[in-house]
């Protein structure tokens, strides 16, 4: 009996010892410099695919190694996995030193306390906060707190259109208001061709579109104290307007309701769809065999007038931020790497390659960002883009409201009526799920 007990005790103790290493995260505040010669970097997928990103980033990392002697281990992580990987790293305390995050996650991840706060001292170490565009820094964490990350690539939504399909339908210029878009759309949507593409199964994309339409209807999805207000008249009108492009106006193909893997871009490249609302789609179009002269770019339409602030907002401030994991064992090296990635030279080069706009003011001066498509994105960011709500439960917002919109797409695709009541019911359910 004693032997059994002893064996059981040994088993429990050894098992507990083994898990002790992976539990509870870490309480270190601000990292250490135990391994000053290496860094691990998780990059988000910005180009057409993972391999392309590796090819683009590897020479830059070599350059950094030559300058500082620090070797950077690169892993490019697809968007579908990135947030889960970051969560796992946060929970276990075993993460990368430096990582890219979607800027909409900034406040949520800030709340976990896993990322190094960018206070005055840390910003000074990379050349100062003034180097960055204000709206980009505003999308790096909750208001009134030190940002959880530093802006790396900035993006905005634009309306991409197929020039030939427009010409064939007798349309001479891209639509500036939604009414014009619907009218043009009806001319195009026939004989197997459709006016507009959508990614109905992609929760984040749904959120980006209804957030902007919400702004245009005078609605925010959260009040000043951070409480959800999904069922306001403006929010309901916004969601209904978006889904009605399929349900009522019939300018989006029903099949788009199940798209979630950028199939709408393939349709655009194949000439099946004439317009998409997208961020920096140039490199993807090129990889699908489209020539730059085949497509045009215009600002996303508004309800009336021209894009601007408030109800004439026509894009979210999209973008990618670079963050340092608090648990890093090379905090000085990590800051050096952030400084390198946000240097004028790297900003110009990388943003140009990925078709994004540099959040660093000096880098924006480069003539490359004067190209017509990038100019639209740059002007939008400067004058008519608003950041998504920087609240700690932003990711729940994306999930609940994104799913509500996805379900409404499914109704529209199946020919079921989408009414103000059904939209309100879906949003009420989403809001109730947020309450807990």
């Amino acid at each position: 009996m004693r032997t059994i007990r002893a064996a059981a005790a040994v088993a429990v103790v050894s098992a507990l010892t083994a898990i002790a290493g992976c539990g509870g995260g870490s309480s270190s505040e601000g990292g250490s410099n135990e391994s000053p010669k290496t860094l691990t970097y998780w990059a988000s997928n910005q180009g057409p695919n993972i391999e392309a990103d590796k090819k683009i980033l590897t020479p830059e990392l070599k350059k950094f190694e030559e300058q500082t002697g620090i070797k950077v281990k690169l892993e490019v992580i697809p968007w579908s996995d990135l947030l889960n990987r970051i969560l796992a790293a946060t929970t276990s305390g075993q993460g990368p030193d430096v990582l890219n995050i979607g800027n909409t996650w900034s406040a949520s991840l800030q709340a976990t306390g896993a990322l190094l706060p960018w206070d005055q001292k840390n910003f000074d170490a990379i050349g100062g906060r003034d180097r960055f565009v204000d709206s980009a820094v505003a999308s790096a964490g909750a208001e009134g707190q030190d940002p959880a990350a530093v802006p790396l690539y900035s993006l905005a939504y634009a309306l991409y259109y197929n020039k030939k399909m427009f010409a064939d339908a007798g349309i001479s210029q891209p639509p500036a208001t939604w009414d014009e878009l619907v009218a043009d759309g009806k001319k195009i949507s026939k004989d197997g061709k459709w006016a507009l593409g959508a990614e109905g199964g992609n929760l984040s994309n749904n959120i980006h579109q209804v957030f902007v339409l919400g702004k245009q209807h005078g609605a925010d999805f959260f009040d000043k104290s951070g409480k959800p207000t999904f069922t306001s008249d403006g929010a309901v009108a916004a969601v209904k307007q978006y889904v009605d492009f399929m349900a009522k106006d019939k300018i989006i193909a029903p099949g788009n309701a199940e798209y979630a893997q950028n199939q709408s871009l393939q349709d655009f490249a194949k000439g099946k769809t004439a317009m998409v609302l997208w961020q920096a789609a140039a490199s993807t179009f090129a990889s699908q065999g489209m020539k730059p002269e085949d497509w045009g770019v215009a600002p996303v339409p508004v309800q009336s007038g021209t894009p601007g602030a408030g109800q004439n907002t026509n894009s979210m401030v999209a973008g990618i931020n670079i963050a340092v994991f608090k648990n890093t064992k090379n905090v000085d090296g990590a800051k050096k790497f952030v400084k390198f990635m946000t240097s004028d030279e790297e900003q110009t080069l990388l943003n140009k390659t990925f078709g994004a706009i540099p959040p660093v003011k000096a880098a924006q001066e480069d003539p490359a960002f004067e190209a017509p498509d990038l100019k639209v994105l740059r002007d939008t960011l400067a004058t008519s883009a608003a950041p998504l709500p920087q609240v700690a439960n932003e990711s729940q917002f994306e999930t609940t409201v994104g799913t509500a919109v996805k379900d409404l797409w499914a109704d529209a695709a199946a020919g079921k009526p989408v009414t103000t009541e059904s939209v309100k019911a879906a949003l009420t359910k989403a809001q109730q799920q947020m309450a807990q």
């Binding site: 098992a15 306390g113 896993a114 199964g201 099949g255 996805k406 807990q436």
Partner: protein, 336 residues
Amino acid sequence: MTATVTPSSGHKAGTSEKTENGGARGPRLPRIPDRIRQGGLPYLLLLPAVVLELLIHIIPMVIGIWVSFRQLTQFFIRNWGNSPSAGFDNYKIAIDFDAPIGQALLHSFLVTCAFTVLSVGLSWLFGVTAAIMLQENFRGRSILRTIFLVPYALPVYAAVITWAFMFQHDNGIINHVLHDQLGLTDKPSFWLIGNNSFVALVVVSLWKSWPFAFLMLMAALQNIPRDLYEAASIDGAGIWQQIRKITLPSLRPVNQVLVLVLFLWTFNDFNTPYVLFGKSAPEAADLISIHIYQSSFVTWNFGSGSAMSVLLLLFLLLVTAVYLFLTSRGRKGSDV
């Protein structure tokens, strides 16, 4: 297994018995103290397995139960040991069926029950039918057997992603056949969104799990003596009578285990809905595994997700216990 047991037992029964008890000279045996040999050795040998079992199953499960009593949200995941206690709040919220979260969990539970009953029932039916039909010797039997086992051999991810392509609205082969070729539907159907997603889920799950039922039942059929069938047919029993009176009763012990294993696998299936629908499954196909995943990982409320997992565990334990109790009682009764 037998290869390692047989020589050692033979050894013990043979020449070395004396030296073992005397403990003086034993040229063929390593010196192991009697105390360990008699009492501890088996435990020592079991130790690695027990440690691994603890590490892989028991400790994560205990931690999961502990988490279900904590308020473990994104604010505490970095230092989850310090998350505040939630008492039974996570459980209360999960089983409050008048509130939205409880309602959604109940809906998901009912969908999962319906899905499991259909998938397991049809898998068994397909398995037993194919196994009986392949008992007779005919040309091409082994090829058919191999083909039937292919779904079981394919990696789940590759298989389900292929199904996801096949179920696509615009370019999928299912709509191509049902709508374009056969004209069975007025317009192409949606299989990955809306109510049809339940059908898609059952079809993929059935395709994935019936070969296992087929394999098990085929092996069990080999053990039924041919004489029984010969005797029955001499007595004038037809094929249906033979199946009802000989085959099915003989398959009973295998069926008991098979149905239980299929039930547990299907009820907990995560891969199929996740690969087919992604992080947010349509309401009609909102299986409980995906629902709990969403409650934990997508909304970052690990306390609530763990409470749901514990409830699921208790339900499965209860069903398993009742099932084993009923079936073992039935067996004892039939043995007597």
